[in-house]
Symmetry: C2
Amino acid sequence: MSKGRILIVGLGPGPDKWLTPEASEALMVATDVIGYIPYVERLPDRQGQTKHATDNRVEIDRARHALDLAQQGHVVAVVSGGDPGVFAMAAAVFEAVDAGSDADRATDIQVLPGISAMQAAAARLGAPLGHDFCAISLSDNLKPWDVIIRRLKAAAEGDFVIALYNPASKTRPQPIHDAFALLRSLKKPSTPVAFARAVGRPDERILLTTLGEADPATADMSTLVMIGSSETRFIERTGQEPWLYTPRHYGVGL
Amino acid sequence: MSKGRILIVGLGPGPDKWLTPEASEALMVATDVIGYIPYVERLPDRQGQTKHATDNRVEIDRARHALDLAQQGHVVAVVSGGDPGVFAMAAAVFEAVDAGSDADRATDIQVLPGISAMQAAAARLGAPLGHDFCAISLSDNLKPWDVIIRRLKAAAEGDFVIALYNPASKTRPQPIHDAFALLRSLKKPSTPVAFARAVGRPDERILLTTLGEADPATADMSTLVMIGSSETRFIERTGQEPWLYTPRHYGVGL
């Protein structure tokens, strides 16, 4: 029996301070690293370790490649930015297992969690996720747009704080505009909104605004968009950016 | 001006492998550590560092204490299990700031994210959070139960994967029973359910079942309850616990 295995590793949002010891260890022991080009390139070269960097939107090919290598005895790190379990490679690997063979189902697979973009954004902004929230990917590459609409409506109906992943890309600029148009019809214009881009990285950029005043074009593929519940509020501070937080209480004041 | 500050630190679910380097560093430099007894007791004693362990449900007192110490020049680590931004101490600290003075608003505060319980559970189970999801706390200590009902209904309406925090406690055993009764009226009996207790700790216990067959009494205060969307599925394996995952696709098969 092969001693190969797959470690699905969360790299976190970027800086080493957010990389768990478990993930660091996995990157040391892996014979092969598989992932999207920018994530793989971010990692230092290691002797005896082969890097397989591939383009976006080939997640299933990557997963299949990882299973094949593991079955040949390799220790394969499949890397994702953030948490691999949140809109990332873990689901793709299990899709490949589900569609695969008995050998795939018998493969030793371990998922190593990481700090996800919404958590880094929340920490940077204050505590916007301090109460019930939901996370929605605006990418309609793999799901019909009407499912996204249904979920945005439900998120507004439930008065959840909303974390939007994949709000826009160069080839797909429209979703965030459509999402904001819908949310503006369902939530107050004064609802706090944050565009948190590349949090923790040198090109970090934060913009705090409201649903009524936000320009959806602010979001790019590196942006996490946070939209408040009816309770989410700013704390104004002299000479500094306001804090953004959601109280643990609901509808009962402070 | 004081050089005191507050570091709101996420300890993750328990094991050191999930404690970020940033959080480790904060625990080293802090002159004071404030938090709920079991979290504070878990930390090693350090020379020159004072531990202030308090009981549950006094979060605002803890936050006020941290602000006072920081304003006296202390470096205060306010610790939470998991991620302090998710149903934990970060929101409490900002509530205290919001209700506080100009000195409170001028206090240097930094939030250090951590791996939250739903992420550890997801990693342990497979990839149940691989698609849109929401996180709901079933504690009605601070919010009316009808808000929880409204959010559970919306979560079902939106077909989100649902992560339930604080499903039950000794003094509050009922919420998870009421939540399951409601969800059973809204979702299919075959919907996958996982009870993930104390993931990563020696007393970890995992139970995989379905909404129709689940016994809500399985959940205690250390349990994260995961309820699938209509797409969430098990992958059966010979001689091993099934994987649980949610495909990135929606309604289009594999």
